[in-house]
Symmetry: C2
Subunit: 460 residues, 2 copies
């Protein structure tokens, strides 16, 4: 990649455009998009070579490369395009890619795009744009191959040949009657059939489709489950309005994962990549949760305040606070992460509530016993000559660990399911929030256990 980059850079500077043209025409659009990005880096606005390079691409490759570029690059290019160039790009683009581009552009760029599109394109773009942000309708394309049930296989092939070049996928075709979806047939099925077979006789009539308003996350699940190349999108009356293709579904799955990772680390999700987000935007997306968590830590602070007598009498107790808190946080994080992931993969549902909590309870008994024994022994050995009550200290810590682990695993498993039930995203019930809640509870348990143990031997 770096070699190609240097070569093209050099050839452009030497104005050997013909050679550049010959090199780039064989490249893949995804690679070219990366190349444009790398070539001009963050200061590309000041250079003009990328405009020359873009104009050296064959029309179809130019449109494909354009669709794969980052949105700031696209917006920059459009502003430098002539109206004719915009029309050429639109001609060669799939409608769903155009919609993706439009959604990211500033208003003046959008109006230039719409001005240069045909009436048909404009209608199609508006059609998709009117669906809610995360719906199946918003990620679909309206360019599919539709067949008629009375066609023969060879007529179907003819139609695919004729209309296929402009369709995003030709491998799954849809049979409609009065715009209603009545069958699905793949090109493979067509190949395996006889030339004179009627479509009606060989099409699949047990159709799996999604509603235009279905959450795109569900669409992602369906692609994972069924391994489809494309999924038909229908309206309330079962009229076919578009299809979602597997590459868009893959993007949805990846975006959902990234969003979950962000939320689980208490960051407001952001659709731009790390480097393309400015530091103020980064700061803003992190501050909100940090403030909420910090203020809620006030409760922990008040609880700790109430046990001043305990750590005044046994100052050693303070030094075990971090370990108790961290263990609770980590245990809660483990449970909540597994449950959040299980919910995201559609493996765990609210109906499993008691099954899950009971399972986590049993796991926490095993985990806490091991941790309690290992730590009890470690503390007893460490403090047997340094402190007057090594056994009581070890006992306090061991009991606190058991209580903390059980509590944190149970809380950690319950909250994501409850969030789902309340129609909140389970991912917010992840490590940061769980840690804060668990800290509060674990310190309360710890100081109470310590008070009981040490008052038993008359120290408190």
């Amino acid at each position: 990649m770096q070699d190609l980059l240097n070569k093209i850079d050099r050839l452009l500077k030497e104005k050997k455009f013909f050679e550049v043209k010959n090199i780039v025409k064989d490249e893949n659009a995804a690679d070219l998009a990366v190349l444009f990005d790398e070539l001009f880096g963050e200061v590309f606005g000041e250079k003009t070579e990328f405009m020359i390079l873009f104009r050296l691409l064959p029309k179809d490759l130019a449109a494909e490369t354009f669709a794969q570029m980052k949105s700031d690059m696209q917006s920059h290019l459009i502003q430098m395009f002539s109206d004719k160039e915009i029309r050429d790009i639109l001609d060669e683009s799939f409608i769903d890619d155009t919609v993706d581009i439009i959604e990211e552009m500033p208003a003046n760029v959008v109006s230039r795009i719409l001005k240069n599109s045909t009436t048909g394109e404009r209608k199609a773009i508006n059609e998709i744009l009117r669906y809610p942000k995360d719906s199946a309708g918003s990620i679909m394309t309206i360019e599919y191959v539709s067949l008629h049930k009375d066609m023969t296989v060879s007529e179907a092939f003819e139609k695919i040949r004729k209309v296929g070049v402009n369709k995003e996928t030709i491998y799954t075709c849809y049979v409609t009657e009065n715009r209603k979806l009545i069958g699905v047939i793949t090109v493979k099925d067509l190949f395996m059939a006889d030339e004179d077979d009627k479509i009606a006789d060989i099409m699949e009539t047990h159709i799996i489709s999604v509603d235009t308003l279905e959450d795109k996350e569900i669409v992602g699940h369906m692609f994972r489950k069924y391994d489809f190349l494309a999924l038909p999108v229908v309206d309330k009356d079962n009229r076919l309005v578009g299809i979602v293709t597997f590459d868009d579904a893959m993007d949805v799955i990846q975006d959902e994962n990234t969003e979950d990772f962000s939320k689980m680390a208490a960051i407001a999700p952001n659709e731009e990549s790390y480097f393309r987000t400015g530091i103020f935007k980064h700061a803003k997306s992190r501050i909100v949760w940090l403030l909420i968590l910090m203020i809620s830590a006030t409760i922990t602070q008040i609880i700790t305040n109430r046990y001043e007598a305990a750590f005044a009498a046994v100052p050693l107790l303070v030094s075990f606070m971090p370990m108790i808190m961290d263990t609770g946080g980590n245990c809660g994080a483990q449970s909540s992460t597994l449950i959040i992931r299980g919910i995201a993969l559609d493996e765990i549902h609210f109906s499993d509530f008691f099954k899950v909590v009971f399972k986590e309870f049993r796991i926490s008994i095993i985990v806490s016993s091991v941790l309690a024994v290992v730590n009890g022994v470690r503390i007893y050995i460490m403090y047997q000559h340094k402190c007057d009550y090594p056994f009581m200290l070890a006992l306090t810590i061991a009991l606190s660990i058991i209580a903390t682990v059980i509590l944190s695993k149970v809380i950690g498993s319950m909250l994501p399911m409850l969030a789902k039930k309340c129609r909140l995203d389970p991912a917010i019930m992840a490590t940061p929030l769980i840690t804060t809640i668990v800290d509060c509870c674990s310190l309360f348990l710890y100081f109470n256990i310590a008070t009981i143990v040490f008052s038993h031997i008359g120290i408190l």
Copy 2:
């Protein structure tokens, strides 16, 4: 789904097998696999109806459904199959699905499968099995359509028709010469060409392929980037040995994500689903990291011990420990999660080290200033009548927050990149480990700042 389940259950009990047969033959294999799973739940071993139901499926659908089942169900079924049934399933299955099944089965089941496969199948299975666990070779299939460069388009169509039924995808065909991969052509290209065109003239020769030993994670990246339906897998001499199809790539992407979620919550990754994993296995996969983190918390404990004088003089300092620790942990988690995700998506590389650390440094200045001001004011107001030195307390906390946030964001961004550089999985440098490291540093800073501030006014 539940309706269908009840209906089939009832019909089976009434022995109306013909009706059942008619219902299930139109269902999708993925749905049937779920149905088998639900129908017999965790105690399916005791029922025999599922064997009857399985035998009511048409051969090809039975094989497809079998491939989609969970591995314990598969193993159970195989043990009840006759040799002929095993042969039928193998005949109808794709080799890569068979390999997936074999990898999960106990030895006695594997030997029954191999005994009932043809010499060709056995050779193909062993071919795939010998590639390392996470390599491209291990997830490929060897069933692809290969064409000759001198064929015409219509000859190519004829070949696809003849061999296609047994191939996992027919939509991308591969042109080979002496087993070397010299071109790729899609069925769409074939449709758009003339019947007499030579394959050599219309095939794509700028081929994107992967090596058999390439990490499957890279294969997942390539599918995301290029939106391919299939990717050719070649050996060192550019000989075509197989293809990876998009559905397997989707599984890889999802598995990698699940693995990252687990590792980031300090859980040893586990390929089984939550419910299918026993409580002892769950406990085992969580205990190791908890123990490591707990023992490392000893350092924090020793540090805290050294500042006994500080919190003996100003006991209020203890109650702010949780807030300082949690804020550090949360800030570190935010940075490390973003960097880990950036690395996983191939957006952040080690060469960006200083760029990333500098960016996080600047972000941390903004974030820490806001948090410090909000908390400083809050603490001053809360304690102005309750304590003799509210301003000094607020100042100590505010300064500690600034130091902690900057430190944790810088550490949180550095460690994942360093892990990557050392060929470790960046995901282990996530919340739990970062929290432990940051706790240690933040308490050290906190107590030092407190000592300086309070000794300034003569309290310490």
